[in-house]
Amino acid sequence: MRETNPKIGPWTLLIGWALALLILLSPIVVFRSQYLLYLSSLTCIYMIVASGLNIILGYAGQISLAQAGFLGIGAYTYALLGPSVPFWVALPLAGLVCFVIGLGLGFPSLRVKTHFLAMVTLGFTVIVYLILVNEEKWTGGPFGVFNIVRPRIGTLAFASPSRYHIIVALVTFFLLLLAFWALNSQWGRAFKAIRENEGRAEMLGVNLRNYKLMAFAIGSAFAGVGGALIAPLFGYIDPTMFALGFSFQFLLMVVVGGTGRFEGPLLGAMIVALLPEFLRITEKFFPVIFALAAVLIMVFMPKGSVSAVDWVYKRLTGKEEPHLTK
């Protein structure tokens, strides 16, 4: 099949993003149910974290199992700063902390690849977990942190699920826009070049170190912000919420959705967070089905389930679906 990569006009983009914002905010009006609102917020957060991983894995081509660790760091940063620090300071701070640590974690990726890198990042997650459990005087140890307050900006409190979802949705929108911007900039091109052919990229002047570290830092920062959003969503956090298994889940989210495609992890997050809800009848079996689906997708649809969307698009319009990132 001869794929091309058609461009998207500025107006289509504008409308597209406006639509995206509406969709992200829609649960507030669509769902009466607090439960569905909660799920929507969770989905948004998963989208953020998965998109972060997609930058590392899908674009820069570096595998990372550290997302759960960063989610934890972000969540604890937010929770421990507590109500003393205003939300709009704590949130970026959580992101920043993870950005810096992410830079550090990027360094191994300069020396090792694939399974070695997987192990290093896996080790990172485990060690974060151990610290959260054992350094009780700071982290509350296995008991976790209670009564994490939801943000209030000025006199306006965002406590109710619908109010809080507004914040989650806006942050998600902003971060996705950010990722979209970065990936469509010349950075995105450099990332892809590193993924496609590291050696040649370097011989065309691409500074591997800077770009790889940046990919890791950005991806990790996304996870950090996700954590800062998830802590007040639960109102309570403990280390078990950020154990290794979570990292694997995010990896599968990206893969099932579509690696290296902007909309991939978004789809993946929805599948993980929302699908079980609709698969009520198979609730108990969902994990089995999902894992099996992941395996099958890896085998039959290397481009992930977005390629199904592409297929539909092609059937309907007869044209190739334009990719959101160059």
């Binding site: 191994p108 020396r111 090792v112 694939t114 151990l130 990896l251 599968l252 089995v288 890896m298 085998v299």
Partner: protein
């Protein structure tokens, strides 16, 4: 005290080593890393329980059937399905796929078998032995013995037998071997089968200590992976050393350094090795 720590460490390490060697064979022949290796231990363990505790086979027969079935399932079936489908796409897709596969096995067993841990009798009666102030179980010696026999068996097979030599040839230089008329695919199949037998054996040894449970593989798989990396991915003897090292490190850390950061300590060793000697302690550099 130290003596028994050493013996215990070794008997654990022996189990890790067997699995780690499986890793290495796969890597050498197919350049793939199997992240579901832990579940590859769980599956034969469950088969053993099925045959012994449910279908009431005699013990040795149960073990044997389990091992054979495992070899078929984790060797032939695995090769014909996932490996053939993914090998052309390099390592990372395979890593991700096997991670998913691991999820599948665990969830499948919880839902369709049991979420609870099951005990499984050991091959030998566990009688406490006393030796130079150290107390340990006959089981430990047995583990070390079996592991030694199996490992020696495998390495002899690789060195001496015709298919073994072919396997080595592929491991050292795929292209050259193929030109020499060796069927690389057959060799990969062989490697997966040997791996299956190794994990099945380790399952038989681990079951009495680890208990048979859907997630028993998590720890085993990871430790074996640490072992393979620390020792050296492209050397069977490296994996052996790595396995024993990991066993000793974790036992000694718990005894002398910290129980809370026990698993962290092994990881630090691992990360240091990865960063400063990626080829592993006994491994050789790969071009």
């Amino acid at each position: 005290m130290i003596e028994q720590l050493l013996i215990k460490g070794l008997s654990l390490g022996a189990i890790y080593a067997m699995i780690a060697i499986g890793f290495c064979l796969l890597w050498q022949t197919s350049r793939l890393v199997n992240f579901a290796e832990g579940e590859f231990v769980t599956i034969p363990a469950f088969l053993m329980v099925l045959f012994y505790s449910v279908l009431h086979f005699p013990y040795p027969l149960a073990i044997l059937t389990a091992i054979l079935l495992a070899a078929l399932l984790l060797g032939l079936v695995m090769k014909k399905t996932l490996v053939d489908a993914l090998i052309t796409r390099g390592n990372t897709p395979f890593v991700v796929t096997t991670i998913a596969l691991g999820f599948f096995v665990r969830d499948f067993l919880t839902v369709f078998a049991t979420p609870e841990a099951m005990s499984f009798p050991s091959m030998v009666r566990q009688t406490p032995l006393h030796f130079a102030g150290a107390v340990f179980s006959s089981l430990d010696l047995w583990n070390i013995l079996i592991a030694a026999v199996v490992i020696i068996g495998v390495s002899v097979f690789i060195r001496k037998s015709k298919p073994g030599k072919a396997l080595q040839a592929v491991a050292q230089n795929r292209e050259a071997a193929v030109i020499m008329g060796i069927d690389a695919q057959k060799m990969i199949l062989l490697a997966f089968s040997i791996n299956a037998v190794l994990v099945a054996f380790s399952a038989a040894l681990a079951a009495p200590i680890y208990m048979v449970k859907y997630d028993m593989g998590n720890e085993l798989g990871l430790k074996a992976f640490y072992a393979a990396i620390i020792g050296g991915f492209n050397q069977v003897r490296g994996a052996l050393l790595g396995g024993l090292l990991v066993g000793l490190i974790e036992t000694l850390t718990a005894a002398y350094i910290s129980t809370q950061y026990k698993s962290g300590f092994v990881l630090l060793v691992l990360i240091v090795v990865i960063l400063f000697k990626p080829e592993g302690l006994l491994g050789t550099e790969e071009q």
